[in-house]
């Protein structure tokens, strides 16, 4: 019982919060703060129970599995932190009650998805999550049709693919129970296997922005308030990963349909490469992060697609990690937007001096994103490569490597374009973000740091959740990674080594000639002997990776989006033409009646 209660409580609280905001803003904020605290506290203390009831002749079942609770941790933590972050971030905006109503509805929807043990309730919560996120995507009121409706349409395509799968599964197996479906999947005919799994995969691929169904994502991520995008990209897209993992492992890997798993992995790799390339050329920090998210989700799909133990472990680890670092990055972008009102690289520079805490959180996240030691990103990357190596995916690994190398480009672009470069007077009034916005970022940064050396903290949960997927006794150690060939890396040694050397040299370099070190402004630079005038700014922000663009532009001009758009337009035009059937002349309508009658006679003659 307690399972469904928590969801209903969240929904109820959402409505209460809405009412509270109608009464008083402070009261509303208190409500938001309360749920942000209560959510993790409740989640980590309650005892799960299964619950089921009948609706419309269908049995709805609820209860966490060991697998779904892994994602629930992410949702709860990220949800709580983004809620906290939202309080100052959204404070100046209107319609806050509406915002938090949908915010809490999408958190409730996500938890509901993870709690659902049957497809119908999964779908219901899936749709609740979808429309509540849609309402937040259009919350700003900008580009509501271009971005919002597009998001809704792609989501609907995915959701309806799922719905089709659900009704078919219900027909074939007589029940919509998820685990029953997995258990009996092997008995299905080949056509049924392929159709149902592909439909489900489509549904989940849309949410996790797998190419070629990613089209909605960059704009939707950009258009919603950053405090929500943290959750959107960090946790909500993971619902797609959650489902995709189930499909890829339970259906493809465990029943010998490896081919589809491979296809998924390839799609993921292509997504990773192309999305990364697009991220490199973005001029808006939010879009950059959005494309980067898509790319990271591609990695996860690769891990799930190859379906080996290490691969799944890598995918799940990255899924959690991505929630953390992309959460931080979107929050950082939000903090920048909050303080400067700008998100375009051409308008931002030098914020490191004004927002150091934001910078360091973002730096930590970027290092994790790029996969460099000493942070946890390395572990996820390492696991993926080892998984690909030991399962002999020669070319897939090259694609992944290309993508993660190219990722350095946008990582640098993000840090440089926003925080570094030549300072200008226009940032003099900028202050560090409010404390309540910094706290979530800093907390998550610490999380990343801790996981960088002690990934076992999460491996514990991952291994128990992988037993649900059929990988029994996954071995893991607190800070040692082992691949299938027995090669190990010792994270403690690596990280200690790095940090000790770093610290030693830090002391040396700080002490040497300490007094004579001149601190100068960024306009005091070597410039062929010419001093830079006060009104000039040499910050490098235009055509950032022009040479790289020249190299890869032949590939980039083919965009699936144009194809989709012309397809949609084609449908519109077709029906536009069809509208002429309704001529407006009553006599024509009468003529239709006569014609229809004639046809009906002809058809009727064959009636039995």
């Amino acid at each position: 019982m307690s399972n469904i209660i928590i969801i209903l409580a969240i929904f109820g609280w959402a409505i209460l919060t809405y009412i509270a905001f109608r009464l008083n803003k402070t009261l509303g904020n208190i409500f938001v703060g309360l749920i942000a605290v209560a959510l993790p506290v409740y989640y980590f203390t309650y005892v799960p129970e299964d619950y089921s009831f009948q609706v419309m002749g269908l049995t709805l079942q609820f209860g966490f599995t060991s697998f779904s609770s892994l994602f629930a941790i992410l949702v709860v933590i990220l949800g709580a932190l983004t809620l906290l972050y939202s309080i100052p971030y959204m404070n100046k905006k209107d319609r806050l009650g509406w915002f938090y109503l949908n915010f809490l509805f999408s958190i409730g929807g996500m938890l509901g998805i993870l709690m659902s043990k049957d497809f119908v309730s999964l779908f219901i919560f899936w749709e609740i999550m979808t429309w509540s996120s849609y309402l937040i995507v259009i919350f700003s009121g900008k580009k509501v049709n271009k971005v919002g409706v597009k998001y809704m349409v792609y989501s609907a395509i995915g959701a309806y693919a799922m719905l089709m799968a659900i009704v078919l599964i219900n027909k074939w197996s007589g029940t919509t129970n998820i685990s029953h479906f997995f258990e009996t999947f092997a008995d299905y005919s080949n056509g049924a296997k392929i159709l149902s799994s592909l439909l489900l995969l489509t549904a989940f691929a849309v949410k996790s922005a797998l190419m070629p169904l990613h089209v909605w994502a960059p704009n939707a991520y950009t258009n919603s308030p950053m405090s929500y995008t943290s959750l959107f990209s960090g946790a909500l897209s993971k619902m797609g990963i959650y489902g995709m993992a189930l499909v890829a492992i339970m259906l493809y890997t465990n029943t010998g349909m490896k081919f589809f798993g491979e296809a998924l992995a390839w799609l993921g790799a292509i997504t990773a490469v192309l999305a990364t390339f697009w991220a490199v050329f973005q001029t808006d920090i939010r879009k950059l992060l959005a494309y980067s998210s898509i790319g990271q989700l591609g990695y996860i799909a690769v891990g799930l697609g190859i379906g080996t133990e290490l691969g799944v472990m890598a995918a799940l680890f990255l899924a959690l990690l991505h929630g953390l670092f992309k959460g931080i990055l979107f929050m950082a972008a939000g903090a920048i937007e909050y303080r400067t009102g700008k998100t375009d690289f051409s308008e931002l520079r030098g914020l490191i001096w004004k927002m150091p805490v934001t910078f360091f959180s973002a730096l930590v996240a970027i290092i994790a994103l790029a996969g460099m030691p000493p942070l946890s990103g390395l572990i996820s990357k390492w696991l993926i490569y080892e998984a690909l190596l030991s399962s002999e995916h020669y070319f897939l690994i090259i694609l992944i490597f290309l993508s993660s190398t190219a990722a350095f480009l946008y990582c640098f672009h993000f840090l440089y374009g926003v925080f570094l470069g030549q300072r200008e007077d226009d940032i003099e009034d900028v202050k560090e973000a409010p404390a309540l916005m910094l706290v979530p970022m800093v907390l998550m940064s610490f999380g990343l740091l801790a996981l960088g050396t002690f990934p076992g903290l999460i491996f514990k949960h991952i291994s128990s959740s992988m037993s649900y997927l059929g990988f029994n006794d996954v071995t893991w150690e607190m800070s040692v990674l082992t691949n299938e060939w027995g090669n190990k890396i010792y994270l403690t040694h690596l990280n200690t080594m790095f940090m000790v050397v770093f610290a030693v040299f830090f002391v040396i370099i700080t002490l040497v000639a300490r007094k004579k070190t001149r601190r100068v402004g960024t306009k005091d630079i070597a410039n062929a002997g010419e001093p830079i005038l006060a009104e000039d700014n040499y910050h490098f922000s235009q055509d950032f990776y022009k040479p790289f663009w020249r190299v890869i532009s032949p590939v980039m001009k083919y965009r699936i989006e144009t194809f989709y758009n012309s397809f949609a337009n084609g449908i519109g035009e077709f029906f536009q033409f069809f509208r002429r059937v309704y001529t407006g002349n009553g006599q024509t309508y009468a003529l239709y009646v006569v014609i229809f009658l004639t046809i009906l006679f002809i058809v009727g003659a064959t009636l039995i």
Binding site: R579, R580, Y582, T583, G584, N585, G586, Q587, A590, L591, V594
Partner: protein, 131 residues
């Protein structure tokens, strides 16, 4: 024998006439551009239909379906059967006529309204609502 033949011929001519009326009406509705003519064509088709209905219930030499005097013997048996036409079609046709009248009346009212609004009663020119 001849009576039966007569009855058949009569029925067929009734049917033919009513069918012709219906077709005339249909033709008028579909080709005439004048709203009033369209309405009249509809009325014609309807009367054709009513004729058909009555014709179905018609029995030759039948009387009106009204119980006036029943000639009974002492055992309350009918001595003489009176051939009556089927009463139900007549009742129904009466209703149908009334309905047709109503439709025509409403239609004419609408024509007046349309004429005031559009200054024409050509159906091809009254096409503000389309697509």
């Amino acid at each position: 024998m001849t009576e039966e033949l007569m009855q058949q011929i009569l029925k067929i001519s009734f049917y033919g006439a009513s069918l012709a009326l219906i077709l005339i009406g249909l033709y008028g509705v579909l080709t005439k551009k004048n709203l009033i003519k369209i309405l009249l064509s509809m009325a014609i088709a309807e009367s054709g239909l009513n004729l058909l209905f009555v014709a179905i219930g018609y029995i030759m030499n039948g009387t009106a379906p009204i119980f006036s005097t029943a000639v009974l013997d002492e055992n309350n048996q009918l001595l003489e059967t009176v051939t009556m036409v089927d009463p139900i079609p007549q009742a129904l046709v009466l209703t149908a006529i009334v309905i047709g009248l109503g439709v025509t009346a409403v239609g004419l009212a609408l024509v007046i309204r349309l004429y005031k609004h559009h200054n024409t009663i050509n159906i091809d020119e009254i096409r503000n609502l389309k697509w």
